[in-house]
């Protein structure tokens, strides 16, 4: 296949991303930035209690504010057909039936939206809405509530727990991770515009326009095509845009009520309760090995928080079944309902959390066994087949990731015993861990429109949340058609374009790349079909036989037989040549298991007086199959590592159990890694295509970039100091007190 011939041929280092100029000039339009005539502004009012119900809402003062058009509450909202009764609310699976209940489930729950002429008017008026409540007892303390939900089996037990009950080399420990918040830099925003009674246009921040479109078509009982969702530029997601959230519906209802387009941008504090977060979690690991280091058994228990109005389970113990071959395995889990908003998938959901516990325990076991942690892992990897499904891996190069990473960071410099290297007040150490992720793929469609000047427009509904989807589309289309990248325009993030799955779970590129290959080939075939009318040689030509240039198509062999596009267009009276194609997973999914993987290595220094951790070096090597765009892929990997640094050292959504709500819910209170918190991340790839996953051989990288980072850093801290930290984030106080 063309793609596999020269693996490093496709890179856009020279010209950058397809949307680069729009992003560096500020011209790219994010959801809240479209000019919509007659637009007015919404501001949400959140509940000030954590549990109970609304007794009364007084909007008198709010309505006195000049410029206020209306205030929507559960008492005067336009009815949503999909929320007509309790049964329908349940069936809608929307989560919070915003403005359709007087019940309060968490502090900050949207209970009103003020609509006004200006943002200032709306914001001020929202502060004047007065609510009286009937309060009820709330539960927000995860640790306290843990006992309320007993553990139950998460997946099938393998072997037995008794088989390794007398194991000599054993590690048993508990791990806690604070709730983390996605906090993409663009706050979620929506402009809702009812074009007519049953036609809706939404400019919205999300990670899947078709999902948003379907959700509201169902809720309002209108045809899907009547809803257009536009999300051309998305200022980051990390999972927060995979669900459709209450504030979007609130904006749509407000627009219906005032009969004007309404714009709502969440405030940063609202971002902490409105669009999900990684749940707080507890884990227990029991891991044993024989004297040679072969794993004998693993018990993995996990609990994480959810809300009282929805069950969200991210599957923390899934990773226990993915990486290593372990004969005796038991996984148990449960979710703990709290009076907080519903958590959701956040980068590397479940696996990222579970991986921290398992990879920390393996490191701990390596010291018990007096074996190198790299060697210990190598010995136990399940390289041939998925330990869970039993199907052979299509490709799994996690061992090569480990080898390459170890060489790059000079793992041989690491001391086998902790606390051996000091520079003044600083203790220096090395750590490593691996990450893995099931490599999925969905059905995706794409279209190409070709003009007679040889220029192409490649289209899909899929969003580009910063991963470089558009650039990858351009690269692939250029590679297959032969048309230069300069002549290929990309259109995406609009529900009127050919449908595509949401961009999540590292499936974006894997899904869309197949569609781009298919549609590019369809274009060549269609041109050949038209050409065959003018020249017999094109009859029965395959896409491999055709070469496209800037102005002509020609035949690869058999002389040249060039035909100008202008001539084709004239002969067939064409305006635009349009082709569409779809592609998705097939029977290969029954034959193989698929995974992306990564190995993370770091060198840290820990200050013995202040407890500060500085990461000197971080090396991440990933198996992402064929790397379509090396620069964007490396960027995504290093970005994920920086997310991992935040998760390990600083990110923590604090909950105040007295008031039943969040504290520090802004960037002064919630820290993630700034530029100075991270070294220049060193990234490398295995560069081996997966021949079965999709036509390009590329596997997603978004998740594996972060899975494993936390354990790598914590393990390095142990190597530096001899202190084993099992609670994230590892803040200086925890190090000093350990």
């Amino acid at each position: 296949m063309l793609f596999f011939e020269d693996q490093d041929s496709i890179t856009t280092a020279a010209e950058g991303r397809v949307e680069g100029i729009a992003k560096v000039t500020g011209k790219g339009k994010y959801a809240a930035e479209y000019t919509v005539e007659n637009v007015c502004y919404g501001a949400l009012v959140g509940s000030t209690i954590a549990a109970g119900s609304i007794q009364a809402i007084d909007v008198t003062n709010a309505k006195q504010v000049k410029g206020v058009l209306d205030v929507l509450t559960h008492q005067n909202k336009p009815l949503v057909p999909g929320f007509a009764d309790e049964t329908k609310i349940k069936e809608s699976r929307f989560g919070l039936p915003v403005f359709h209940t007087d019940k309060i489930f968490f502090k900050g729950q949207p209970i009103a939206i003020v609509v006004a002429e200006t943002l200032e008017d709306a914001t001020y008026a929202a502060s004047l809405v007065e609510v009286t409540y009937t309060t009820e007892k709330f539960v927000v303390d995860f640790r306290e509530a843990q006992a309320s939900t007993p553990l139950s089996m998460a997946g099938k037990e393998r072997g037995s727990m008794e088989a390794w009950s007398d194991a000599q080399n054993i590690v048993e420990a508990e791990y806690n991770i604070a709730a983390e918040v996605h906090n993409p830099m663009e706050m979620h925003a929506t402009i809702a515009h009812w074009i007519s009674q049953d036609k809706l246009k939404l400019y919205d921040k999300n990670q899947g326009v078709n999902n948003v479109q379907r959700t509201f078509a169902r809720l309002f009982d209108i045809p899907t095509d009547n809803i257009e969702v536009i999300s051309e530029f998305v200022g980051g997601g990390f999972g927060s845009g995979l669900r459709v959230w209450p504030h979007v519906l609130a904006t749509i209802l407000a627009a219906r009520q005032v009969n004007r387009p309404v714009k709502l941008m969440l405030t940063r504090p609202q971002m902490f309760t409105a669009v999900g977060y990684r749940p707080q979690s507890w884990q227990k690991i029991k891991l044993a090995a024989d004297k040679d280091g072969k794993f004998l058994g693993l018990l993995h228990q996990a609990q994480h928080s959810t809300s009282v109005y929805e069950n969200f389970n991210e599957g923390i113990t899934r990773i226990a079944r993915l990486v290593y071959s372990i004969d005796n395995l038991k996984t148990e889990s449960s979710i703990v309902p709290l009076n907080l908003s519903t958590p959701t998938w956040m980068r590397g959901p479940g696996d990222c959390t579970g991986d921290f516990a398992i990879e920390s325990a393996i490191d701990e076991l390596s010291y018990v066994l007096k074996k190198d942690p790299v060697e210990l892992r190598m010995k136990n990897l399940s390289l041939e087949k998925s330990p869970d499904t039993g199907l052979p891996w299509s490709t799994n190069y996690i061992n090569e990731c480990i080898e390459k990473g170890a060489a790059r960071i000079q793992w041989s410099e690491r001391k086998a015993l902790p606390g051996q290297v000091k520079e003044g007040d600083w203790n220096i150490g090395y750590g490593m861990a691996v990450g893995m992720w099931n490599a999925g793929r969905g059905n995706a469609s794409a279209a190409i429109q070709m003009q007679k000047d040889g220029s192409l427009t490649v289209q899909t509904a899929m969003t580009d949340i910063g991963t470089g989807t558009g650039t990858a589309m351009q690269n692939i289309a250029s590679e297959i058609t032969g048309i230069s990248k300069q002549k290929i325009k990309i259109e995406l993030g609009n529900s009127t374009l050919p449908p595509a799955p949401s961009q999540g779970g590292s499936t974006g590129l894997s899904s869309i790349s197949g569609a781009i290959v298919a549609v590019s080939k369809a274009l060549k075939q269609k041109l050949a079909d038209y050409a065959s009318v003018q020249d017999e040689v094109y009859k029965n030509a395959t896409t491999e036989d055709i070469i496209l240039s800037e102005s002509h198509l020609s035949f690869k062999t058999n002389g040249n037989h060039a035909i100008a596009y202008t001539s084709l267009w004239e002969t067939h009276n064409l305006n635009v040549l349009e082709v569409e194609a779809s592609s998705g997973p097939g029977e290969e999914r029954q034959k193989y298991s698929f995974c992306s993987s990564a190995a993370h290595f770091c060198k840290v220094r820990v200050n013995s007086k202040t407890g500060k951790v500085k990461i000197d070096r971080m090396v991440c090597v990933a198996d992402g199959g064929k790397i379509v765009n090396a620069q964007a892929a490396a960027n995504q990997m290093s970005g994920a590592a920086i997310g991992g640094i935040g998760m390990t050292l600083m990110e923590e959504q604090k909950v105040d159990a007295r008031v039943g709500g969040l504290i520090g819910n802004d960037f002064a209170g919630y820290h993630f890694a700034v530029n100075a918190d991270a070294p220049l991340i060193e990234v490398d790839f295995i560069h081996k295509p997966d021949p079965n996953i999709n036509p390009t051989g590329s596997k997603g990288l978004g998740e594996v970039g972060i899975i494993g980072c936390a354990a790598a850093i914590a393990n390095a801290i142990y190597n530096a100091t001899g202190k084993r930290l099992r609670d994230l984030p590892i803040t200086p106080d925890k190090i000093l007190l350990a």
């Binding site: 992003k23 000039t25 500020g26 930035e33 001020y124 830099m185 980051g236 890694a673 991270a678």
Partner: protein, 196 residues
């Protein structure tokens, strides 16, 4: 311009008078109610404003509460300047005021007369990108692009300030601009490229 302090001695006297009157004279409730209401819900104030943004002079009438950030985004459709927190905690709204980097979310529009504002839209000259914009494209100094205008405005200032002697120094002086995608590698490289 006429200014009135809301919480003056007169405020209390007037409010007290109004309440006394309400209690004593039910027939005049309506007239006094309006008086009282104006203190509970202060009326919006606007002021005329002449500002220079990207070398263009604007004659505006702005709400006194309006920040430079909202003025740019909501009133002038200069949406290149981004809102990431509205609290001076993220740097996404960084612009230049008289050549210095400034957080537009912490700057009231009313503070602008006599000052020259440059936003990301004013950085390129015609179709020719500023070297920092070019460097960000070449070094892939972004992913989602939302913090990018603020990063670029800060980066230009960082070079001008001379804080580019080492990777560590660049990182320190660019740490007021958060990037959740974590494109810090490319941001540092872009600055190094321009500073050379």
């Amino acid at each position: 311009m006429k200014t009135e302090h809301l919480y003056s001695r007169r405020f209390f006297l007037k409010t007290a008078a109004a309440f006394t009157a309400l209690a004593a004279l039910p027939s005049t409730v309506k007239a006094f109610y309006q008086e009282v209401k104006n203190f509970i819900v202060p009326a919006k104030q606007t002021l005329p404003l002449v500002v220079t943004i990207n070398k263009k002079e604007y004659q505006l009438s702005a709400d006194t509460r309006t920040t430079l950030l909202d003025l740019l985004r909501e009133n002038l459709q200069l949406t290149g300047t981004k809102k990431g927190c509205d609290h001076g905690q993220c740097g996404a709204c960084t612009v230049h005021v008289d050549g210095e980097r400034v957080l537009s979310c912490l700057t009231l529009a009313a503070m602008l007369p006599g000052k020259k504002v440059t936003t990301i839209e004013g950085l390129a000259v015609g179709d020719k990108l500023h070297p920092m914009q070019q460097a960000f494209i070449e070094c892939d100094g972004f992913q989602c692009g939302y913090c990018t205008p603020g990063q670029i405005m800060s980066a230009v200032a960082c070079v001008k300030e001379g804080h580019t002697r080492s990777v560590a120094e660049i990182k320190e002086f660019m740490s007021g601009n958060l990037c959740r995608c974590g494109a810090y590698n490319g941001i540092v490289e872009s600055i190094q490229k321009v500073a050379r």
